[in-house]
Each structure stands twice: as structure tokens, then as C-alpha cells.
Subunit: 332 residues, 2 copies
């Protein structure tokens, strides 16, 4: 028995079995138009008995308007993106839409390819992250007619709908917090900011705020790869080897910061007396650590949810800043 031997039921089969016309079955299935309670019940009964599943491919083609939304995220390794996906998928589901996902690995060219292949499904909307894209991406998106939502960043120009927070403002708040606590010899441990443009914006915002206070980063350590606990751990070790006199370190995100925290605990470096740590994202693991990490909590699930809602809301283009919350924690 090959796989091809499954000629699934068609609308006409149901119509025949129920003794009605195809359009009647279609009406029953979509709860539209008027159908007598009697036939409605009969059709439903046949559908259930035969286990008929309508072919949405055909339905979509005929109705010109798919119930699909494409979502491209740069990574699934950092829990931030699954959170975003969770918010989006939940909301989409509520509205009767389905999510098609793609992972770009923080590669603009991959993102462009993924967007192109999603557009082939004529999605109602495409959700992507950030405001920086390869040239081809906005072009394709614009001419597709699909709604576009850019998530997680509001520092710049959006294509259509933008839902996120200001990375710059978050970083500035972080810098002010550290300065306010009296730290002056501040270092940075981060990952590839050329690919993760939001992390890049945070670094820029952080440095700008330091500069406003007559300060500058004493040292920085950049990991050539995506953020991870291991990269943060190793990064802090290297940074301290080069600049032992630091009194605080700003990390590109919580994954990196937790790595740094683990390094300090393992080496017996007193936090925050000897060294203060500051992260970004407000992950569970950071907030529930024995010493809660000083960090910025971002409303990721809400951003996904709101982004999905707006994508299907038929409202004008807009930028929604969902803000962030500074968590003082105990590491700074």
C-alpha cells in the first residue's frame, strides 16, 4: 500500500451521501448562508460519520484569502523567540489562523528567502523581528499585499505595523541604573552585534548614556557567535583577565549574564560588592536565581499576541511601544 492510495473524501462525496448540493455542504461547513436546521443536521452527521476534513488548499484558492500567517524568527535557541511565538500562535489560533514558521539564524539573506517562500502561500500577514532587513525583504513584502508586523524593536522606521519596545531606551535605563548605584568602571560582554541588531542598538544606547555622564566602557568582550550561557561565562572570564579592575559588567542579554553570574559564583567573586552584573530580557532563570539578576523585563509574549492581533485587525499602520520594566534584582 503506497501513500498515494488515500484519495481523501471531497465535498462532492459528502454532498452525494447527504443527498444535497455541494454548495449546501459548503454553507454548513462555513456556517454561512441559510440552511434549514434539518439539512444542516444531516450534513453534519454525514461529515462526522465519514470523517471528512475539508481541503483548505482548495478553499483558500477559491476564496482568495488564506488563513495563514508567516512568522520568521532569527533563532529558537534563545527562549525569547519561543515566547514571542507562543504569544503569536495563541492569538492566531484564537482568530482561526495558522502559523507557518521559519528560522533565519540571524541571517538577513535567509530571512529574505524565508519571507519569499512564505509569500508563496499568500499569507494574510507576515511577522518578522527587528526593523533592519535586506533590501529584497521590504520590496517583496510591500508588493505582496500581506500585512507586515515587525516585532521587538521600535527604534526606527517600520514597514507597516511595529510592536515592541525601545532597545535604546532600555539600555539607557540600564546605564543610568548602574551609574546611579555608583559604578564607574563598567565593562561589556556581548555577542555578534552585527547580526543581532537589537543587541547592537542596546550597546550603542548604553555607551551613549555613559558618555552623557562623562563615562565610557572600560573594556568589552565580543563573542563571535550567538548568545549563550557558555559564551557569557567565557566572555566574562576573558574580560576580567584583561580588565580586572572593573566594578560592573553590562551583558548583551540574560543568557550571557547568567553565564557571567555562574562564572562569578564558581570563582567566588562577590556579587555585587566586587562586581555588579546587569542583563536584558528578564528570563525566569535570571529572576529566580539565588541572587536575582538586575535586568530589563521585556513583554515578549504580549508583543507576540498584540502583533498577531494587529496583523489581522485591518487597522492602519502603527507603531506600538509595549515598554519594558527595569528589575533591580540583587546583582547590581
Amino acid at each position: 500500500m503506497t501513500r498515494k492510495d488515500f484519495p481523501s473524501l471531497r465535498l462532492s462525496d459528502i454532498a452525494a451521501a447527504a443527498g444535497v448540493g455541494e454548495s449546501t455542504v459548503s454553507r454548513v461547513l462555513r456556517n454561512s448562508g441559510s440552511v434549514s436546521e434539518e439539512t444542516r443536521a444531516r450534513v453534519r452527521q454525514v461529515v462526522a460519520a465519514l470523517g471528512y476534513v475539508p481541503n483548505r488548499i482548495a478553499g483558500t484558492l477559491a476564496a482568495a484569502g488564506s488563513r495563514v500567517v508567516g512568522i520568521v524568527v532569527p533563532s529558537l535557541t534563545n527562549i525569547v523567540f519561543p515566547d514571542l511565538l507562543r504569544g503569536a500562535a495563541g492569538q492566531l489560533d484564537l482568530m482561526g489562523y495558522q502559523a507557518v514558521i521559519g528560522v533565519s539564524d540571524y541571517d538577513g539573506a535567509r530571512e529574505a528567502e524565508l519571507v519569499a517562500s512564505m509569500l508563496a502561500w499568500r499569507p494574510a500577514a507576515v511577522m518578522i523581528t527587528g526593523l533592519e532587513h535586506e533590501r529584497a525583504t521590504p520590496d517583496r513584502l510591500r508588493s505582496s499585499g500581506a500585512r507586515v508586523v515587525e516585532m521587538l524593536d521600535v527604534d526606527g522606521e517600520g514597514l507597516d505595523i511595529v510592536v515592541g519596545y525601545s532597545n535604546r531606551a532600555a539600555a539607557e535605563a540600564s546605564a543610568r541604573h548602574l551609574i546611579g548605584r555608583g559604578y564607574r568602571r563598567i565593562g561589556y560582554v556581548g555577542h555578534e552585534i552585527s547580526r543581532d541588531t537589537r543587541a547592537g542598538k542596546r550597546l550603542a544606547g548604553f555607551e551613549a548614556e555613559l558618555a552623557r555622564h562623562g563615562l565610557a566602557l572600560v573594556a568589552r568582550e565580543l563573542h563571535a557567535g550567538p548568545s549563550s550561557i557558555g559564551a557569557g561565562r567565557d566572555g566574562l572570564e576573558r574580560l576580567l583577565a584583561r580588565a580586572p579592575a572593573l566594578d560592573a559588567v553590562y551583558f548583551s542579554n540574560d543568557d550571557m549574564a547568567i553565564g557571567g553570574y555562574f562564572h562569578c559564583v564558581a570563582r567566588g567573586i562577590a556579587i555585587p560588592e566586587r562586581l555588579a552584573l546587569f542583563g536584558f530580557n528578564g528570563l525566569d532563570v535570571a529572576r529566580l536565581a539565588p541572587q536575582p539578576l538586575a535586568t530589563i523585563l521585556t513583554p515578549r509574549v504580549e508583543i507576540g499576541r498584540e502583533a498577531a492581533r494587529l496583523a489581522l485587525a485591518d487597522e492602519p499602520a502603527a507603531t506600538v511601544d509595549l515598554g519594558f520594566i527595569l528589575i533591580e534584582g540583587a546583582t547590581a
Copy 2:
């Protein structure tokens, strides 16, 4: 300008612009059939110039065979599932397929609904987790003609393809490890095992192994909700309040175990001298903690990848056990 004003280009537009027939354009686009190098180039040129994106909805309907694979996961909160998704999406992408995802929240009825709505897209395959499903799920799946892959568990009967590891064996190995280290007063901290059947199987396997050594769990604490660091932290606190004499605790997974670890660090409970901890999954955060957690490393990304490969491989039904690795760590 309304959204409807985007009558995207059709194959016939390209055909007209290139001065060829529709079928010729179709052949060029799919690299099938024979087309002269000259016309091929011309068509390509027109396609690029006009920015034409073929409508896969129509293509799929005509060709009877979609390049879509449905994936239903119980959660996105636990990094285990994004890992699985990452492996699967990467492999699918390589083979020219797209992933449609659904999140069931560990609810069998939701899973059944999600499977039904994915089947409406006539996916080439459906990937789900675990071997336990609502009655309707296998029925629908079987009559759909789609390949089915069940992931993360090999302890039981599969519907078609199964890729995972033995939760029972992993738990038995964990028990043996603890017993071999001399621990005898062992407790358990877990989450809702009725919904997370794999966690349930691990608990059963763990207890069975203890029994074989004439032991039994001294106490257990079950959190009425999904696993999380917070649940593990609180769970261990409650467990120790009730059974202070424990010398080791087995957790339902690493999220829970990390929570327990944080509790011990915060309370100054010496690990493993005063209390040993054992987890499951081998998450980064567990392996890179100052005291690496004793746990079981599961090949999640590989499972996703292999599952996707087999789903599209046109090979007979099979069960693939990708095994696990016991990590001794420093907490037991």
C-alpha cells in the same frame, strides 16, 4: 488603498510578458520538462523583473501534494520543544518543506483539534510528541494519508514513525546512579504527570528501579501545573519541609531541578553532601551551572532533524531510539 488592491501577478502574466505559453513558464519555474536555454533565460528574466512569486496554493491544489509539514508541540515554554522544532524546521527547510506549528498546552483535546486543522492543509506529514493521544487523533491521522512521526518517546506502540528515547530507561539509569552513589532516602519533585505522560513514565521507571533495589520514594511533591524553575524551587522547599531527612531528590526535568538547585544555594544547603539533585534533559543552564547538574542529556535537536528526515523519506514505519547520555555532573 485597501488591502484587496493587490491582485498579485499570475503565471499567465509572466507567460504573456515573455511571449510563451503558461506551461512553459511552469516548466521553467519547476526545472522540469525540456525548455530551450534561450526561453528559459527569457522567462527567468521576466520573473525577476516583475518580482513574480508563484502561488503555492494553486500549485499544490493542481499537483496534489503539499510541501507542508504540521508540527504539534505541547509547549514552547520548556526549551526542549523549541530545540525539537529547530531540528525539524532546519531539516524540512533543507528538503524544501515548510513547518506549520501548533501548541497544545499538554491538552489532548487541543492536540486533536490542532491535528485536524493541520490536516486541512493536506500536509505531507504530521509530527507530534509522545505516544499517548486522544482517540480521535490516531483515527484522523490514519485516514489522512499523511506520514506521522511521534517524537521524544519510544516506550509504547507508535502509529507510524517513532523517533525518541526511552524515558523509562533514562529514569532507571538515573535511579541506579543515585543508588550507586549511596543515596537511600530519595524524594521526588515533579509537575503534572497526567498531562506530561513522558514525565509520568520517568517517575514510574524511577520507582520501579528503586523497588528492584528494595527502596521506595520517601516523599514526593507534585506541582499542579507545567514545569518551571519556580515550581521546582517551591516544590523542593515544600518537600524538605515535610521530609527533612532526604539525602537525594529526583526532579521531573532540568527546569524543576534548576529551581531546586537555586533553592539549595539560596538556603545554604550543601550539594551534594547534604542533598543530591538529579534532573532530566541536559539543558545548557544545568550543564553550565557552577555545580553542573547530574542529569540525562537528550538529543532533542537530532530527534527533530531525524524525525523530519524520516517523515519525508518514503520508508516503512519504524521506531528509532536515539538514546540518551547520563551526565554525572556535581550534584549527585
